[in-house]
Assembly symmetry: D2
Homo-oligomer: 278 residues x 4
């Protein structure tokens, strides 16, 4: 759920776990976010041009784990042209590891690295006629700040110092979102379209079988159920409450575009409006 100061639970009380319950189009909307701009120099990332036709929010890499200035410029330009909201996908300074390796940094250094990345991206958003609207940590940093309070606090401090108007996009229940909310930031909870969940609502580790769902139809079906029913079926068969403000589709997997398109089409058909949260 989106929390913003005086909070507001916009989920109708009637939306209980009754499986097929369908809510009216007016009752529900959701954001669709995706990582983009994750190439570097001669190397490219996903099919950003196609993805930016489908999502409503773009997590643009800022040069530390991926993304170079020219990619950042063209990605922001394309996002702005299509009305896709730009967020800073910030990560550890680790190009060789694509930001997927935890770095035990001092919180102050991490905070400064985050400010640097947001500022750099904001320049490109500015010349594209818009501005950075939110921050979504990437990779190992995303995972670390689920429960690493020090690093989570560093990211929150970077955002609040840079611009209190930026939203924090992250995992429901994470230290990151808890501290962001406590600091007065708008928080946006996301669900993963193609990831399996455990019975208590956590992500199934990628190292386990069936952690990633690669059937586009099944992915779309799950997203519709989350948005219209407020639930997702866990890997153990149980039903878990899941009312995301944003759904994350992956940009770099095989069939990423197909999956994103499927989610978009299915949600729209189910009466869910796709629109950016910011």
């Amino acid at each position: 759920m989106v929390h913003s100061g005086s909070d507001d639970d916009d989920v109708p009380a009637a939306m209980t776990m009754q499986g097929g319950t369908r809510v009216s189009a007016a009752a529900r909307s959701v954001d669709l976010n995706c990582d983009v701009g994750e190439g570097f120099g001669r190397w490219s990332g996903g099919d950003d041009a196609a993805l930016l036709k489908l999502v409503t929010s773009a997590n643009v890499a800022c040069g530390f784990h991926a993304g170079d200035p020219s990619i950042m410029r063209s990605t922001c330009a394309l996002a702005a042209e299509r009305g896709v909201v730009i967020g800073a996908q910030v990560g550890y300074r680790d190009l060789a590891g694509f930001g997927r390796r935890f770095i035990d940094m001092a919180p102050g250094e991490l905070r400064d690295d985050i400010v640097y990345q947001i500022g750099a991206l904001d320049g490109f958003a500015r010349i594209a006629g818009t501005s950075v609207r939110y921050v979504k940590p990437h990779g190992a940093l995303y995972n670390a700040i689920v429960d690493n309070t020090e690093q989570a606090s560093a990211v929150v401090e970077a955002i609040t110092r840079y611009d209190r108007g930026l939203a924090a996009l992250g995992l429901p229940g994470s230290e990151f979102l808890r501290l962001a909310a406590a600091a007065g930031l708008r928080t946006v909870e996301e669900a993963f379209a193609d990831r399996a969940y455990t019975g208590d609502g956590h992500l199934v580790s990628r190292h386990r079988a069936h952690a990633v769902i690669d059937d586009p139809v099944e992915v779309a079906r799950r997203c519709v159920r989350m948005l219209t029913g407020g639930i997702v079926e866990a890997i153990d068969g149980s039903l878990v409450t899941m009312r995301p403000d944003s759904i994350c589709v992956h940009g770099d997997t095989v069939g990423a575009v197909e999956i994103a398109r499927g989610v978009r089409v299915a949600l729209t058909a189910a009466g869910v409006t796709l629109r950016p949260f910011a």
Copy 2:
């Protein structure tokens, strides 16, 4: 001279080359700029804390040739605290070469690298309660855009796209300042306190003897003569017209602080007001 749109030559006609001619304090002011924040990680640059007590404009390194996010943050904070104006000291992406090696980049890539650096620094200026006010290219880039029109144009385009309110600080007569002025940017011409000039007003190459003047008294004397007389004695003994808007003192040479202090004291004593151009 500072040019800004309908600008004009504000040097009184009476200020001819008569050596000892003294102008009144009211008639003349100048900016004093210096490179700062040029460390990286565990390595430090010059004595920034001392220099930021002496100069009026700080050219802060932005992470491509030197400077890391934590150094950028603390340098901006210190500059802001002391009322020193912050400029983006942008350079080639070349940490190993300290930005002192020409890189034959495509203009579009260079433009994007410059936007990235300005934006990143602007974030730290923002959290220090101020903003980047000007751009000064560094090292090999500074030298390249004296006559490399393509790269000069790329830097100017970066500035105009990012913020037309930023001034361009550079070498008088350079392609950079010519194109910046043509693009409607405010241009600021600088002289070097401790560098020898040729009879036609160019810098004597560092590879030649006596290219750098290291006697603080002589450096100060030359600065006073530029500001009160509008001239500097060239290496061949001739007198060259020199009416800088800003004087650059170096931050990383032996005795840098002493030289900067000498220049400041001597100029002030000569009735020249030291104040930022921006």
Copy 3:
């Protein structure tokens, strides 16, 4: 031609420009080289696994323009397993520019950068049970040392200091090969399978039309003619003498594998033995 001290022109006098002239298999052999290992971190380069089944020499990127330690290790292991000779594909320190931008480095710094890269790759060749046998400069460095004597000399000095037993692979007529030969190194001249030549035997600039030949059949036909006839048809229709010791096939273009396979098949069918020069 391969030059090595007492030189040896192994091209029979009878091999004159008569188009269809066919030489016996015994009379001619050639090396086939290709750039490999040009990914970085999560980003991959060409289809190395397929290419290493086709070429006889592998130009392995060493981490400065592309290639990371894990890619270097696996690439060397695969090359060694298939009997493909390993060469150090050395470049400027420019990951963002993929080594395709000239850097005006001091010769001593360039020499040291080259030694570093050769040594690093040699470690992986060693653990794969072999060793680096030659050096082929990459990208902008390759082009620079065609006529930049200072940088060419720096590369040659790096090789001679590291190991006089290493061969130098480069462009016929380049300063690089001239200086390498003068220093007593074995030199290996290469032709490009898919590049057009001017009437005086130079490469047609990539910025011109028809600079790259992308029809696999035509590429193969040209290679056969070079090896069996000692000539290549220039872009202006004239015939140019071309007796390469090695033919370079590109690894990162669309259809790279198909082109390499075509060249291999056609040369073998024409009686040319494919074998490494080193």
Copy 4:
């Protein structure tokens, strides 16, 4: 103690903890190691020229946490000239953090990063007429492999794959030295000249008071006691057995040279021969 296959305990039985017990010069020798080459580009590290007159083994940075190719070349040349043995001071790829931040890398990637660094340095040792003789991990990696078995194993695997003749220099009791010995590598245990120890022989954390001893006389006195008495006084006043094969003096602290000189003079005066272990 140095362990090497059929090794043996060369410490005379008579050397018990009797405080002032003095052993004859013939009975004891020790190595003195120091980090050198820890600059990067324009930034310099410690006073290597002075330190390389005092130590017997040089831990040369390999470019990942510090050190660039030109620094590596000149450092190896100077070490070789003075008969100082060269070791590879390998670290995490983290120039911004000077290798002082733990990175949670996959063991295979770490192993490859280590091989890369050893190989690169070995090239410079080779052109200096010698070769790398040992490996000493740096900073956060040094600390991690005290008890991180996976990463310790990765470092050991890198060494054994590269050259089984290289010694492993590290902390007594560490996983690193345990696994190195198990893999058949020669292990070399070091003590820190200027660091305080706990009663059970561990280093006192740098975050605690009195963790570093900065009085050169006291540092020298402790080293003499270790080498002649086999003990060191712990921070709690107890006596701890300490029979190092090598003593590490720091190169980048204030007074580093003075401390190294003091240790050298005092040990020599006490009849301890300073000589490299490798």
